[in-house]
């Protein structure tokens, strides 16, 4: 048989394997005690792939809240409650996210904490909404998520419109950028935050000299960055997550470019510094909320997190922790863990969380979220300034 004859087969096989990679992780549900109420909390984030470390961090934050609630002994309508975590891997893939969502719905979860990315949260939110399952995303920031009009969709983080605006203004006013190059990873999150950034930067008088795109799987940016270099920007903004951010800033410096490098919340991780090494120095990133050590109970949370999981917080674990607690608070107020019964109260709950005082507006967005800018200094993220929010906090 010649190569010609097997070549179509090859193409087919490649297609099959690229479609079929991936697996799920499911927590085994333990046998139930009869006199206690079992409440299943679904959680979903990427547990495999480039963002697995952030996804695992989300799962840890959720697990910690659930362990705490079980240890504390929560009662709903006089019945002792045992919370169970059902964690699913959505692989940052919108298709997989809908499958995972259906799986959680079929498992009759009482509520969902997730997903991590806007790109997975949005398609999954429809399935939760159709089945009346309350969903709180700890980290999806795309405006579109809560703009769909679903009563079940909530988030405990400032959205891209708020964050992109702050970033755009920070780049032009505080960093004095006049010519800006913008890259994004074409995910709902990356694209959303980059578009909002562009709007705000242009409104403050900066010129967008280059608008480039990559994917959330790429690690080679040499040609894109070379093309950007030809436009001589004084600031490069990347809307995306740390698996791309780290090699990107590294390759940016390897091309001899000394421009400022700015990212949204997807860049604010210890992993970015670890993977980019010395090239990370001077990188800016934002994160909705006040710095962890300024959060009420933030330091305590981070100590306990490190004790339990033997690693530092990556990114959104405190937000997941709060999301679970908001959900539990609503269940307690409603006196029921039935989605239909506690959902109306979820929008009204005011919860003193680790990250902020959490209350939702009529869309399910976080009310008055503060946003903090961080910079890598001597190999560590340092808070530079906190903007917006109900009570602005001046960081060091």
């Amino acid at each position: 048989m010649s190569f010609n004859k097997i070549s179509p087969l090859l193409v087919l096989l490649v297609a099959v394997i690229s479609a079929g990679c991936g697996k799920t992780e499911t927590q085994v549900v333990q046998p139930k005690d009869t006199d206690e109420l079992v409440v299943k909390i679904g959680a979903s984030a990427p547990l495999t792939g480039p963002q697995a470390h952030i996804g695992k961090d989300n799962e840890n934050g959720t697990r910690m809240a659930i362990d705490d609630a079980n240890a504390k002994g929560v009662t709903i309508a006089g019945k002792k409650v045992r919370f169970e975590l059902l964690s699913e891997d959505d692989q940052t893939d919108p298709k997989a996210a809908t499958i995972v969502a259906q799986k959680l719905v079929d498992a009759k979860v009482n509520g969902v904490i997730g997903h991590l990315n806007s790109g997975t949260t949005i398609p999954a939110s429809r399935i939760y909404s159709d089945n009346g399952i309350p969903q709180i995303s700890p980290s999806a920031t795309a405006v579109a998520y809560t703009a769909q009009g679903y009563k079940t969709a909530f988030r405990v983080m400032a959205n891209d419109a708020q964050q992109g605006k702050v970033l755009g203004e920070y780049a032009t006013k505080n960093l004095g950028a006049k010519k800006i190059a913008v890259l994004d990873d074409r995910t709902a999150y990356g694209q959303g935050i980059a578009d909002e950034f562009v709007k705000a930067a242009q409104a403050s008088g900066a010129e967008i000299v280059s608008r480039q795109y990559t994917t959330d799987k790429a690690i080679d940016f040499a040609s894109v960055l070379t093309s950007i270099k030809g436009k001589h920007p004084d600031l490069v903004f990347f809307g995306g997550m740390d698996p791309q951010g780290a090699p990107m800033v590294k390759q940016l410096r390897a091309l001899g470019m000394k421009t400022q490098f700015l990212m949204g919340d997807g860049g604010y991780t210890p992993k970015l510094i670890e993977n980019a090494g010395a090239a990370a120095e001077g990188t800016y990133a934002s994160l909705p909320g006040v710095p962890l050590d300024k959060m009420q109970g933030g330091r305590d949370f981070s100590t306990r997190y490190e004790a339990q999981f033997k690693q530092p917080i990556q990114l959104y674990a405190p937000y997941c922790y709060d999301a679970v607690n908001v959900m539990i608070a609503a269940m307690q107020q409603a006196g029921s863990a039935e989605p239909a019964k506690y959902l109306p109260l979820l929008g009204k709950v005011v919860h003193d969380g680790v990250t902020a005082k959490i209350a939702f507006d009529e869309k399910g967005d976080l009310k008055g979220g503060a946003i903090t800018m961080y910079q890598v200094r001597q190999g560590k993220w340092q808070a530079v300034e906190t903007m917006g929010g109900t009570a602005p906090v001046a960081a060091h």
């Binding site: 010609n4 792939g49 270099k229």
Partner: protein
């Protein structure tokens, strides 16, 4: 102009890596007529092993040159053992089976290796430590780093060495003989099994070096890094003419250049309609175009040439 030159430099660096990996595909195809789809994973295992050894040696405060050389050597040895093992377990029992069977075991091995790596090294991105300061050099307006210079030079050296080995040594002669006609070679006293095992080991050694190179260049290693790299190197091998050694080298470099120039200019040329996020598409566009219009590749599959 210096931007164009920079894109060419980027393409050459990327292309050298593709070429090294493509050689592994093409050598195996030349001898067995089999596409070893697990080859990309061998690159990944090489990078992972190098990472672990490098971390241990650097922690033990060994001098950085020694640490890098040792980790590279351990990675090469590990990959050669792996290549040998893959052939023994997944291909030798199926040598006379229909063509589809070894293709499927190849994909099976690829998935097994990926998942094993995920279990051993975890699923996150690891930073690949480079104990040297990576200096920048200006070359006619283009910037090239020390690591990138090393990549191009080492790739050239390895390819020259491979050509010498295949065309000048006794072992190379038996490889060419097996490629041309296995049964006749066996009758002439060539130990076919030994030659095939050695071919797998040789290809895997090149893959280990390539794995080390990409990791040092990007500073990042992860368990599925071999998948896309493997597919692209396979494309490079097909582009050059699969089974043809010079074709694999040419195909690698050409593919690197196509990708780099394509991703660099597609945004400007299409007025922003297509962006550089289509970078990976170029390789597969090339693959389809070659398969449709010139399945024998740029240099063709010259039977006497292949090894």
């Amino acid at each position: 102009m210096d931007i164009l030159f920079q894109q060419i430099v980027n393409g050459l660096v990327q292309g050298s890596v593709y070429a090294l990996v493509a050689l592994g595909y093409t050598m195996v195809y030349g001898i067995l007529g089999l596409i070893n789809f697990a080859h990309g994973e061998v690159v990944m295992v090489g990078a992972m092993v190098a990472l672990t050894v490098l971390q241990i040696l650097l922690a033990a405060a060994l001098s950085s040159v020694l640490a890098v050389l040792c980790s590279l050597m351990v990675a090469v040895a590990a990959c050669m053992a792996l290549g040998y093992g893959i052939e023994r377990v997944a291909y030798r029992p199926l040598r006379n089976a229909p063509r589809l069977a070894p293709l499927i075991t190849a994909i099976g091995v690829s998935i097994v290796l990926q998942n094993l790596a995920m279990m051993i090294w975890g699923r996150e991105y690891h930073a690949f430590p480079m104990p040297f300061s990576n200096g920048l050099h200006e070359l006619g307006g283009a910037i090239i780093t020390d690591v990138q210079i090393a990549i191009v030079l080492i790739a050239l050296l390895m390819m020259a060495g491979l050509m010498l080995l295949i065309h000048r040594s006794r072992f190379g002669r038996s490889m060419r003989a097996v490629a041309e006609n296995p049964s006749a070679a066996a009758l002439m006293g060539v130990d076919i099994n030994r030659v095939i095992s050695a071919t797998f080991m040789l290809g895997s050694a090149l893959a280990a070096v390539a794995g080390f190179m990409v990791s040092a260049n990007y500073g990042i290693v992860h368990y599925y890094m071999g998948f896309m790299l493997g597919l692209k190197a396979f494309t490079a091998a097909v582009l050059g003419g699969i089974g043809n050694l010079r074709g694999a080298m040419l195909g690698g470099v050409v593919l690197g250049l196509i990708e780099s120039l394509g991703a660099g200019y597609i945004g400007d040329l299409s007025g922003g309609f297509f962006g550089s996020n289509y970078q990976d598409v170029f390789a597969f566009f090339v693959l389809i175009a070659v398969l449709v219009f010139r399945p024998s590749g740029l240099l063709g599959e010259r039977v006497a040439e292949r090894a």
